[in-house]
């Protein structure tokens, strides 16, 4: 694979010519940072499939397109299968000798939000990974259906307010835990699975490159801070993401071949989760006295998960 190395943020901000800056994503949306980073990670040809969602509706509104590479969107749930179908066609045509440029390396990538990854497209993703297609699936996890105005998904964390799991007089927001998609995809035996964040962009670039280099299906969950639905100022995207990784709300780690777990980022000072929650409007109600117990629950679950990840890493099983 032709790895592209981007040395610093200045270079990063100008390095990509395959994803145009002209798109309709909200100012401060992390989606475009993550997409640019993926496309910056390689010089190989890219076929990109995208589920219906913020990224899709913001980058391919006829007669415009932000994609200067092959791109396809079918529906809300099936980007993984679109990429898988294209990958199967690539293999068939390579064998039959009908490709225009048979020697140029091609990578297949699918993007989906958490709604399409954790919920409606779960089966399609699972099927494509089980079949072993050579592709990388990247979830842009903003923990809600942002494209339709902020409804709960199975990725929405406990206590968050969404329009369909509202905080109100008798409710503290979402009651259920966030689905552990990383563990689920690792359990498929996928050769490379990771959770990454755009504030730790060098780690993210390496993770993307690892996934693209790895033969077989790879899954990466990326935290994509949502200025609109998480309710923070558009200029604070990276600051909020820093809080996400440094409170360990979003631990950064990889799982190789379904079992070998490596923690990729250890905060020097682990911050209390309150700092992360307090910075976002979607958690505002948790600071009422009657909801304090939810913050305690969230902190406890973070601590337990971190302990678990560290033990898994040590155990090397």
């Amino acid at each position: 694979m032709a790895i592209r190395s981007v040395k610093n943020l200045k270079e990063f901000s100008t390095a990509n010519e395959r994803f145009e800056g002209a798109h309709l994503l909200c100012p401060g949306c992390a989606h475009s940072m993550i997409v640019r980073e993926l496309m910056n990670a390689t010089d190989d040809n890219l076929v990109i499939a995208t589920n219906t969602g913020c990224l899709e509706v913001s980058t391919a509104v006829y007669p415009y397109t932000s994609w200067d590479t092959s791109w396809i969107h079918i529906g809300f749930e099936n980007a993984a299968t679109a990429a898988a179908g294209a990958e199967a066609m690539y293999k068939a045509r390579k064998r039959k000798g009908t490709l225009k440029d048979p020697d140029a390396p091609v990578k297949f990538v699918a993007f989906g939000g958490d709604g399409s990854t954790y919920d409606i497209g779960f089966q399609w993703l699972s099927g494509a990974v089980e079949r072993g297609h050579d592709f990388t699936y990247i979830c842009l996890d903003n923990e809600n259906y942002a494209n339709t105005g902020g409804q709960r998904s199975s990725s929405t964390p406990v206590g968050a307010h969404t329009s369909t799991a509202q905080a109100g007089r008798v409710s503290y927001g979402k009651k259920q835990k966030k689905k552990d998609m990383v563990a689920i995809m690792a359990a498929h035996g996928a050769p490379y699975v990771a959770q990454l964040a755009p504030n730790k962009w060098k780690i993210m670039a390496k993770g993307f490159q690892k996934a693209l280099e790895t033969e077989g299906p790879c899954f990466i969950n990326t935290v994509s801070a949502c200025t609109t639905e998480w309710k923070f100022d558009a200029k604070d995207t990276i600051h909020i993401t820093d809080l996400a990784t440094d409170t360990l709300m979003f631990p950064i780690y990889e799982i190789i071949n379904g079992h070998e777990l490596n923690i990729l980022y250890r905060p020097k000072n682990v911050l209390p989760v309150e700092e992360y929650l307090a910075a976002q409007g979607r958690y505002k109600h948790l600071f009422k006295p009657e909801n304090r117990h939810v913050i305690e629950r969230i902190q406890k679950e973070i601590d337990e998960k971190w302990e678990y990840l560290q033990r898994r890493e040590e155990a090397k099983v």
């Binding site: 509104v61 092959s70 179908g85 066609m89 068939a92 009908t98 091609v106």
Partner: protein
């Protein structure tokens, strides 16, 4: 290179096997599929071809029919020949993606082995699935027997992949009655069949990176309407290519197909309009009635369901006295779709040339439709013709147990 298969000039194949052989001969690049009764043997047979070296392409067994069509769309956009098969509930699950395939103008071939739609669950043949997909933007061909299932698959690739069409194509056949009934089939040799279809010519392919393409864009009120109108036009105009392909096929094999098949219609007084295996049943009934009772009966059958052969249907029915449109799908609160298409076609000719039109719902969930019943329907139409008005309900249920069921009275004047 895929191994070639030596075929006899006459093989004994059922409709499923015939379709699978046609897919093999077309050297499809990607088949993404999911099994469902009664189309499963197409996928299984194809799987056996894969396992024994007769296929160079990829065979992707996915986790649902929705994924099957999604994989087909991704594969087709990547610039190669693509096909699959399904039935009934699987077809229903696919429907979302059927519209996306046609909207993206991807020439995929889908074998639909027609079967009833639940609930109640039923694995037998009717046209419920076919009817559910009729607005999906696909060219739709209907095979009445195993030979036609083979022939129309070869034609389907050539039609759909034509640069002037570039639309997906369905080949329908009746579940079990065609799909599981072994009949004599005259195949082409592998070389002849492939030469007839020709190499796939990629158009706007995702694997040509010198010209990046965006598939599945968003359009709102500014462009959506124009796109759909253009797509409709492509489907409407595809008849030119369909006629050309049928002509080329006739030259090659001597087997003649028309967008609207007509049997004994030259002097017919009454007619049955039907699809699938019912066509052959009705032809047999018409022949017997002509010999035994002197009733001038004829049969009309859309070979091409989309684009609908409206001009041809109008021409075939103008001047006859009475036609019964037979729908093997329950319209649920309306007249049958074939009835409505027929009336629509006839509304465009002068009133004095218009026949009476009745509607029969029949054969749901695999209920047998035999020659005797077809004869009874012909006789009844003859009765209407003789008195000049419909003497029964306009819509009736044929072959239903229990009390007679009918809807809408006809008006005498």
């Amino acid at each position: 290179m895929a191994e070639k298969m030596e075929l006899k000039s006459t093989e004994v194949w059922d409709g499923n096997y015939a379709a699978a052989q046609a897919l093999r001969q077309a050297q499809v690049d990607v088949v993404a599929a999911y099994p469902i009764t009664p189309s499963t043997p197409i996928v299984e047979t194809y799987g056996s071809f894969v396992a024994n070296g007769y296929i160079d392409g990829e065979f992707v067994m996915v986790e649902s029919e929705h994924a099957a069509m999604s994989g087909c769309v991704g594969a087709a956009a990547a610039g190669g020949r693509v096909a699959t098969a399904t039935s009934s509930q699987g077809f229903m699950l696919m429907i979302e993606v059927l519209y996306q395939a046609s909207g993206m103008r991807l020439p995929i071939v889908l074998n639909v082995v027609n079967r009833a739609i639940a609930s109640p669950l039923n694995v037998r043949g009717d046209h419920g699935d076919m009817y559910a997909g009729r607005d999906s933007g696909w060219v739709q061909l209907d095979a009445f027997n195993a030979q036609e299932a083979y022939d129309l698959n070869l034609c389907a690739f050539k039609i759909g992949e034509d640069i002037n069409v570039r639309l997906p194509v369905m080949v329908h056949q009746d579940g079990f009655v065609t799909s599981h009934t072994a009949q004599n089939v005259h195949p082409l040799s592998d070389d002849e069949a492939y030469a007839f279809i020709g190499d796939y010519k990629p158009v706007d392919e995702m694997l040509d990176f010198s010209k990046p393409v965006t598939y599945g864009a968003q359009t709102e009120e500014d462009w959506h309407y124009e796109h759909k109108a253009k797509q409709h036009r492509a489907l409407m105009d595809s008849y030119v290519v369909i006629d050309r392909v049928f002509e080329a096929f006739e030259k090659k094999t001597g087997r003649k197909y028309k967008r609207l098949e007509t049997y004994m219609m030259e002097d017919a007084e009454v007619a049955i309009l039907a699809l699938g295996t019912t066509v052959e049943t009705s032809i047999l009934a018409a022949k017997q009635l002509r010999e035994e009772e002197g009733i001038k009966a004829g049969v009309v059958a859309p070979r091409v369901i989309r684009p609908f052969p409206l001009n041809e249907l109008r021409a075939a029915l103008a001047g006859i006295k009475c036609v019964a449109a037979l729908d093997r799908s329950c319209p649920m609160g309306a007249m049958g779709a074939l009835y409505n298409e027929t009336c629509g076609a006839l509304a465009t000719i002068p009133a004095e040339q218009r026949p009476l039109v009745t509607n029969f719902i029949y054969g749901l969930g695999g209920r047998d439709f035999a020659v005797d019943e077809a004869k009874r329907i012909f006789r009844e139409q003859k009765g209407h013709a003789d008195v000049g008005h419909i003497t029964t309900h306009v819509q009736q249920f044929s072959g239903l147990r229990g009390p007679k069921l009918g809807f809408y009275e006809s008006k005498r004047s």
